[in-house]
Symmetry: C2
Subunit: 204 residues, 2 copies
DNA sequence: AGATTAAACGGAGGCGCCTCCGTTTATTAT
DNA sequence: ATAATAAACGGAGGCGCCTCCGTTTAATCT
């Protein structure tokens, strides 16, 4: 598996998505990408007509692919979690285990940032559809645990680390206030965590 | 108190409603009346523009009086509970205590019927604003208890009645299915209750 | 009664939602 | 290659939301 370069084309709707016509898939992908941006910028109340426009398609196309706003939100959400998880593998191909962990944590925190903007609809979704939460978010702890295990094996971070503790520490950023300092604050948090993890490591 | 005829003019917003200009009060009342009808017919999602149109005013007027849909829903709700409570006094002026009780229970059940249609927004309101619930719905048990006490004193119903039990019995109609039989069903329920209450009464 | 003025009116306008259906286009069969 | 066909497109149109502001009018003052 994973023998192709696979630099960008990775998606499709795993369960329900049969073979789509080429143009359909193109438009679908563009819509998801555009929507992700729009939701990040304006929250999930962003104008769907505007998303369609920016994606260069008619509203009809948007509604055909995603019958309701919630459908679109859900797909975007799933996509981003998957991208986050996939990034772990890619990063570890180019960086040392500890640098991979650090970079991935930065991305995780950035990911959380966009979710705060989506809070409104997302909460509804997660409440009414807990399967979604389990399905996609469920992978995150596993990925993190894997990255930590590698870094431990590598000797670049200490061995007595509970990955769940690290996840909780990172998740705290979700409830931080929206100040412009937010970004720096979360960068420092990750830095702090890494310092703690490296302290007393075999190869430190 | 209550020395005037007072056949219809009873409303105003008790706490916040200062003295309104004559035309303003007219429009406000008409809007509430029209909205009550619309909500009963189409649920709380009824078109506000349509309500304004039917009330013979511009939408601007509607929005000035009721900034949000929820405001309007709340006012309509309060109004109806008050009307229901006031009806008790009026009815008892024209009917015997047991007939008053019977007729009032019919109205109560009819009132519940409209609330089922409003379920959507009303639930939100009652959750976020429990003061509203306590304020207005709180009077209902008291009114019912009063009517029952009168009929007991009158000897037309038996004395060993817990008014709370009666209220619970009536409230059951809230969760009945929407069949066309609904109305008959609830009429029979009230009849049944009255038969039970009259059984073994001193003057029966 | 007439003038004044602040309150109230009302609807046009801009935007977003969503559907419907005539047109375009990728795919399949020949 | 070409035709046939089913899939997909896209935007106009109808409706509802809400705001803004020029016009009307009830209440007050002289």
């Amino acid at each position: 598996m994973a023998s192709k370069p696979s630099t960008e084309p990775k998606d499709q709707t795993p369960p329900a998505g049969k073979s789509l016509r080429a143009d359909a898939r193109r438009n679908r992908d563009k819509l998801i990408e555009t929507a992700a941006q729009a939701f990040a910028d304006h929250g999930t109340a962003a104008s769907l007509e505007d998303i369609a426009r920016r994606a260069g398609v008619g509203v009809g196309t948007l509604y055909r692919h995603f019958p309701t706003r919630e459908h679109l939100v859900e797909v975007v959400y799933r996509h981003e979690v998957e991208a986050l998880c996939d990034a772990a593998e890619e990063l570890s191909r180019e960086l040392t285990p500890d640098r991979t962990l650090e970079e991935w944590m930065h991305r995780f925190v950035g990911y959380i940032a966009t979710k705060r903007g989506m809070g409104d609809s997302l909460r509804i979704l997660l409440n009414s559809n807990s399967e979604l939460f389990a399905d996609s978010y469920g992978k995150v702890p596993i990925v993190l645990a894997g990255l930590i295990a590698r870094a431990v094996a590598d000797g670049s971070i200490r061995a007595d680390v509970d990955s769940t503790d690290v996840l909780h520490a990172l998740s705290g950023t979700y409830s931080m206030p929206n100040s412009p300092e937010w970004h720096n604050r979360s960068r420092r948090l990750v830095g702090l965590l890494m310092d703690g993890l490296r302290w007393g490591a075999p190869r430190a």
